[in-house]
């Protein structure tokens, strides 16, 4: 069905908003910081999933656009005094433009070549962030002031929490609409078979480039959200390990489904916190255990947690056949002509 959101989706978005406004009064500051971080990761992961899960493009450049979002917003806002929303918009446009630029050559590449070219782009971008001293502060990093949005200052984690939640809710809503749009279905068609898609008249190259740009804009929005509750950025944050974290979230949660990605963000995001709470003698094994969990999760749930969950539901007999309507764009979407 094109157009409107289903009730369950609407409730989901509403839940994010309610949590955003209620939780700052209920949780201590540290949890709010973790929550902000997780919501930022969620925006990043949803954007990455557009490429990996939806249109099947195994691209790694995401973290570079996150960096553009952070540095762009921080520099415009803090150094040039541009209002927050405008600087976020400008960064998103810059990132989207960079995404387009990357998209054109990247649309020619496939599988490993695409993965490695985009990964190389991310590394080059990190190098630029680290060495472009006059603009990014180089390896010393960049400090910035807490943004003020219409007189509302977001210096603390508690103050930033509702704003980050609104951003996440907006991104989720946009993605839900995208899933139902022609563009979203074309993306799925390209993932399922590029050749069939192009044979049925889909502009494969154009859709791929558009996906790159949209995903870059999402990453930049995540970067702008990051500046709400942080006051310092260093190029080390934008490295391969961060990228791996986001990729893990998408894959462990379950790609090409928003619920799956959000689940992955929560599970993978809390994993380091849980590992940190382990007995001290086990603490040295933290990295090993993280890797082992990663391998085990992939081996035993290749479809991700959400895929496993949905399989269970599908296996259970139902009175009405609602499962077909309830699962989002994961299954191959049949070609529909409007």
């Amino acid at each position: 069905m094109y157009g409107s959101l289903r009730a369950s989706e609407f409730v989901g978005v509403l839940a994010i908003l309610v949590a955003g406004f209620a939780l700052p009064f209920m949780l201590p500051e540290y949890f709010l910081y973790t929550g902000n971080m997780l919501m930022t990761y969620a925006v990043l992961a949803i954007g990455l999933d557009l490429l990996i899960g939806w249109s099947g493009q195994f691209a790694f450049a995401h973290i570079a656009f996150f960096g553009i979002g952070i540095y762009g917003t921080a520099i415009l806002e803090s150094r040039l005094g541009v209002p927050y929303l405008l600087s976020a918009l400008a960064s998103a446009l810059i990132a989207g433009g960079a995404g387009l630029l990357i998209g054109f050559p990247a649309a020619r590449l496939k599988t490993v070549y695409l993965a490695l070219a985009t990964y190389a782009f991310a590394e080059c971008a990190q190098w630029v962030f680290r060495t472009w001293d006059p603009v990014t502060g180089g390896s010393d990093g960049l400090r910035f002031n807490p943004p003020v949005i219409f007189g509302y200052e977001t210096g603390t984690d508690g103050a930033a929490f509702p704003v980050v939640a609104i951003i996440l809710a907006l991104v989720v809503t946009a993605t839900l609409y995208l899933a139902k749009s022609k563009l979203g279905r074309h993306m799925c068609a390209i993932r399922d078979s590029e050749h069939v898609a192009s044979a049925s008249g889909i502009d494969v190259r154009g859709i791929k480039v558009a996906t790159f740009a949209i995903s870059a804009v999402f990453a930049s929005i995540a970067g702008s959200a990051y500046t709400l509750f942080q006051s310092f950025i260093n190029a080390d944050v934008l490295g391969a390990s961060q990228l791996v974290t986001v990729l893990t979230m998408v894959v462990i949660g379950g790609s090409s489904s928003i619920a799956g990605v959000l689940l992955g963000v929560v599970v993978v995001g809390f994993l380091p916190e849980i590992l940190r709470a382990m007995p001290h003698s086990l603490l040295v094994w933290q990295e090993f255990i993280y890797g082992a969990i990663l391998v085990a999760a992939i081996v035993f749930m290749p479809q991700g947690l959400w895929g496993l969950f949905r399989q269970r539901i599908a296996a259970r007999p139902r009175r009405h056949d609602r499962s077909a309507r309830e699962s989002p764009a994961v299954r191959p979407v049949p070609e529909t002509s409007p």
Binding site: C124, H195, G291
Partner: protein, 296 residues
């Protein structure tokens, strides 16, 4: 100066080429980029040191044992983890993302396991294959260990060429990578071949580890060298064994020359820049075959 830099670039390039060969063998036979290859190199270095220092083996025995252990380890990982992901599908393009994430997980495991051992925090050094005073040619200084690296790398490459072209197992490996289904039909044990390819590639990474560890600072993070292997194989085209030898050497030389002519700071970003440049101009690498359509 330039000649000296070129020569030392060729030496490093030989090691990159070995890592690239390890990556390409895995990619050709199982369609996955092994992001843990750098950690295989790292593990082999530490393993060699352990065998030398702790168990008091002599050098040749250590090399043989390290490579054997690495072979077994790679084969085991393929069998226990990757095989499960691929299931019974032979054309595994859809499984690329999970498999790559699995290798990334493995790299975390290896790094984590090494970090647990307290002595790895100290500066350790694996003794080189050949030690002794450097050799002088006119005004060029050649380290003995560098000569050793080139000799070993060339021997390994010759052995691989002979093995792939003239032995039954080598031919079976090539058949498996060209068309797994047809290979299975004529009675080649495809699953065992995939394991074999991983073992072979891990053994190669092991040799690179033994060659590289005396030259680099040994740390649990030295696995980052995998990017140089990847860059070398991209230049070579990721499907061509000859290509990645050339790619490795070109990369080693270019890196050293950039260090001289541009800035030492730019060395770190060179491999990535080369990856992008090559892929934008030639999407299949310089020596790679055009992407075949495996399924619609």
């Amino acid at each position: 100066m330039i000649l000296q830099a070129t020569l030392s670039g060729i030496v490093m390039g030989c090691v990159y080429a070995l890592i690239a060969l390890s990556l390409v063998i895995i990619y050709k036979s199982t369609d996955v980029v092994n992001f843990a290859a750098g950690e295989f190199v790292m593990i082999a270095g530490y393993l060699g040191l352990l065998l030398l220092d702790h168990f008091g083996l002599n050098y040749p025995l250590m090399v043989v044992l390290t490579v054997t252990l690495m072979f077994a380890f790679g084969a085991l990982f393929e069998r226990t983890a990757l095989n499960k992901i691929v299931g019974f599908k032979y054309a595994a393009e859809a499984a690329l993302v999970p498999m790559v994430v699995a290798t990334i997980g493995l790299s975390f495991m290896l790094k984590g396991a090494v970090r647990v051992i307290p002595s790895t925090e100290e500066v350790l050094r694996l003794p080189p294959l050949f030690s002794g005073p450097p050799v002088f040619f006119a005004n060029i200084v050649l380290q003995r260990q560098d000569i050793g690296i080139v000799i070993v790398a060339v021997l390994v490459m010759i052995a691989l060429t002979l093995g792939f072209n003239f032995t039954a197992i080598g031919k079976a490996l090539r058949a498996t990578s060209q068309n797994p289904r047809a290979a299975a039909l004529i009675g080649i044990p495809v699953k065992r071949m995939r394991m074999m390819a991983w073992g072979l590639a891990s053994g190669l990474a092991g040799i690179s580890g033994i060659l590289l560890s005396p030259k680099l600072l040994m740390t649990p993070d030295m696995g980052n060298v995998v990017m140089l292997g990847i860059a070398a194989s991209i230049v070579g085209g990721f499907t061509s064994l000859v290509g990645c030898v050339i790619g490795g050497i070109v990369l080693g030389v270019v890196q050293n020359l950039i260090g001289i002519f541009v800035s030492p700071q730019a060395i770190a970003v060179t491999p990535f820049f080369i990856i992008m440049l090559v892929l934008v101009m030639r999407p299949n690498g310089l020596f790679g075959e055009a992407m075949r359509l495996k399924k619609v």
